[in-house]
């Protein structure tokens, strides 16, 4: 029972981080049609900036609050000056650009902060652990488990009830039609890209207290996020949530019960989904 609960929480907390990254990835893809390879680097940048603010102010919350908007500002510049000239051109150009950005950002943080690993302490209020039956479990991880669904709920409300949310969904469904009825699509695109980047950076800032901050920390998570997005359905919002949970749980229970194939499990699932439901679990039929 203890082991089961511990595995459950392990899987859920990792899944929630995956969810934050995947949701940005899937929104950007759904609305803009851009596969953003640099998304993992924005996650990493969020972690580094959070760490920098923690160093300056000593408060994790300041880092969580101030870091991600800065990443969003970087994203605005990326969209405005690099991505925009490529809309409507060959998709491979976008892939090349975002891949290049990833390399550029990875090396950029190394120039600024060096190659060493950095450690961010969790905030005092969340740094202890709680007893679950006979075992103790870190409070910070439980915080992540709770936070994930809250963020999901907030996003769902945003997409369902606010004007901006509706505009986003409209543009995602039919870009041309949205433009015809007067939606300023270029501004919307910038906003979407920045929003996705902000979510990734929040994920990075939240990841900082439980893993070391270092260059290339985005590499693992971007690969798993792509799997999440494909499993859940490209551009699907509930798909990202379910996909992230599946992958997180597969990771934790797989380690215990199928250690020999654990590494391959996400890919096996990916292949199975692509064969049976090529559009993903929640993908819209065209």
């Amino acid at each position: 029972m203890d082991a089961f609960l511990a595995n459950l929480f392990n899987g859920l907390s990792w899944g929630m981080l995956l969810f934050l990254i995947s949701i940005g990835l899937t929104i950007i893809f759904g609305v803009m049609g851009v596969l953003n390879f640099a998304h993992g680097s924005l996650f990493m940048l969020g972690a580094y900036l959070c760490m920098q603010f923690v160093r300056w102010t000593g408060s994790f919350w300041t880092g969580l609050l101030l870091g991600p908007p800065l990443v969003a500002a970087v994203a605005v510049a990326i969209e405005r000056f690099f991505l925009r000239p490529l809309y409507g051109r060959d998709v491979s150009l976008q892939l090349l650009l975002t891949f290049g950005l990833m390399l550029f950002l990875d090396d950029g943080v190394r120039l600024i902060w060096g190659a060493a690993y950095h450690v961010v302490q969790p905030p005092d209020a969340l740094s202890g652990s709680v007893a679950i039956f006979s075992q103790s479990y870190p409070l910070y991880r439980l915080f992540l488990v709770v936070l994930g669904p809250l963020v999901g709920l907030a996003l769902w409300a945003f997409f369902s009830f606010t004007l901006w949310g509706k505009l986003l969904r409209a543009a995602a469904m039919d870009r041309q039609m949205a433009e015809i009825v007067g939606v300023r699509v270029p501004v919307l695109f910038t906003a979407v890209f920045a929003f996705g980047a902000w979510l990734a950076a929040v994920g990075g800032a939240l990841a900082a207290p439980h893993q070391s901050v270092g260059p290339a920390m985005g590499e693992r998570i971007i690969i798993e996020s792509f799997i999440v997005v494909v499993i859940g359905g490209m551009g699907s919002f509930p798909g990202a949530f379910v996909g992230a949970l599946i992958l997180g749980l597969l990771n934790s229970f797989g380690t215990t019960f199928f250690p020999q194939v654990q590494m391959a499990l996400p890919y096996i699932l990916l292949a199975a989904i692509l064969l049976t439901r090529p559009r993903g679990l929640f993908g819209a039929e065209s």
Binding site: Y117, V119, H210, R220, T255, T256
Partner: protein, 409 residues
Amino acid sequence: MRKEGLLRVLVLLVVSLFFFAGGGQAADKPVKIGFAYIMSGPFATYGQFAKQGAELAIEEVNAKGGILGRKVEAYFEDTAGKPDVGIRVIRKHVFENGADVVMGIDSSGVAAAVAPVMTELKTPLIITHAATPDVTGSKCNRYTFRVSLNINQNIAMAAAIAADMKVKTWTTAGPDYSFGHQSWEYFQTYLSRKKPDAVFLPQAEVAFSPAATTDFSSYITKIMNSKADGVLISLWGGNLIDFVRQAVDMGFFDGKREILMTLGAATEVLYALKEKMPTGIWVGTRYWFLANDTPVNKAFVDAYVKRYNVYPSYNAHGAYAAVKAYAAAAEKVKAVDKEKIVEGLRGLSLELPVGKITIRPEDHQAVTDGVWGKTAADPKYPIRVLQPIRKFTGAEITPPVAETGCKMN
């Protein structure tokens, strides 16, 4: 007249071409060392430390007039920890940079891929970090040398310490590639020799994690819920840092199990973890800056701290040692010719900060002393130090040549 001028230019060109490309005997031509380390990704700080150690050694050699009167020049390349990239950068060193010798290699995977290529490149390679027994065992060859400890030597020490513990059942947490698996295999072999009743968990119940893992919670949970009361941890670098931090939070270090970290005393790791590193844990290393009182070690540590403001790691020492070994070999044979250097390195003995090492001529593995110790807090140091320290001589931890499987050709 014009023709003559043209001819003059042509002669000049040919002569200069010959001088730059072919020459090689000119006294002012520098000795070129190509270094190949991990400079990017989650293990990049190992490359940084190695670079510092290499630069310090080269500066010292050059200050004393270089090698046989020739200045030493360094080239650094990033292997990214990937075997294919490793082979590429080694080739680049030899063909483009014109390296007289290649040094470095962090990952065992890269080392195993690169070593066989050296016979083709006919260039000496001095490994300073990668620990796979294969490169001085089944894949040993004329051009491949190692000045640092290998897995067998390190695990022999782990087994000696484990034999004194009251542990019934052992498990492991290690990286899911050859290094982690070989560490676990040798640990079982060596400990069983000393303690025939030692029990080891089967393969499906131990915890091997992919190198890209950042969340170790499921592995930690698995070990904590197993019946093992002893854990051999062969994780290193960023993996080890993440593991320790998450394990601390999950109550892994609650005293209910004995722990051996084969590479826990890497200063790269200790600086990142600082007081988050639990005390009273047995940790191993290939070099510990406080383990040796010799003047050579003191001078090295002082110069290193003065220049870089941190204590040298074992990887910094490895790079430093390789440069010094190369210089000593060149002085011994009075040449930097690649074939002669091979002869010079064979059987070479020299005094290093780690102590006296001897490169065995039969398998090219250095017989070098090793250190394990228990982590302890000391207000004089910004990082955890080792207290007590347990030193092992090279002779007692190095397996005999017959056991290595090396057939030198």
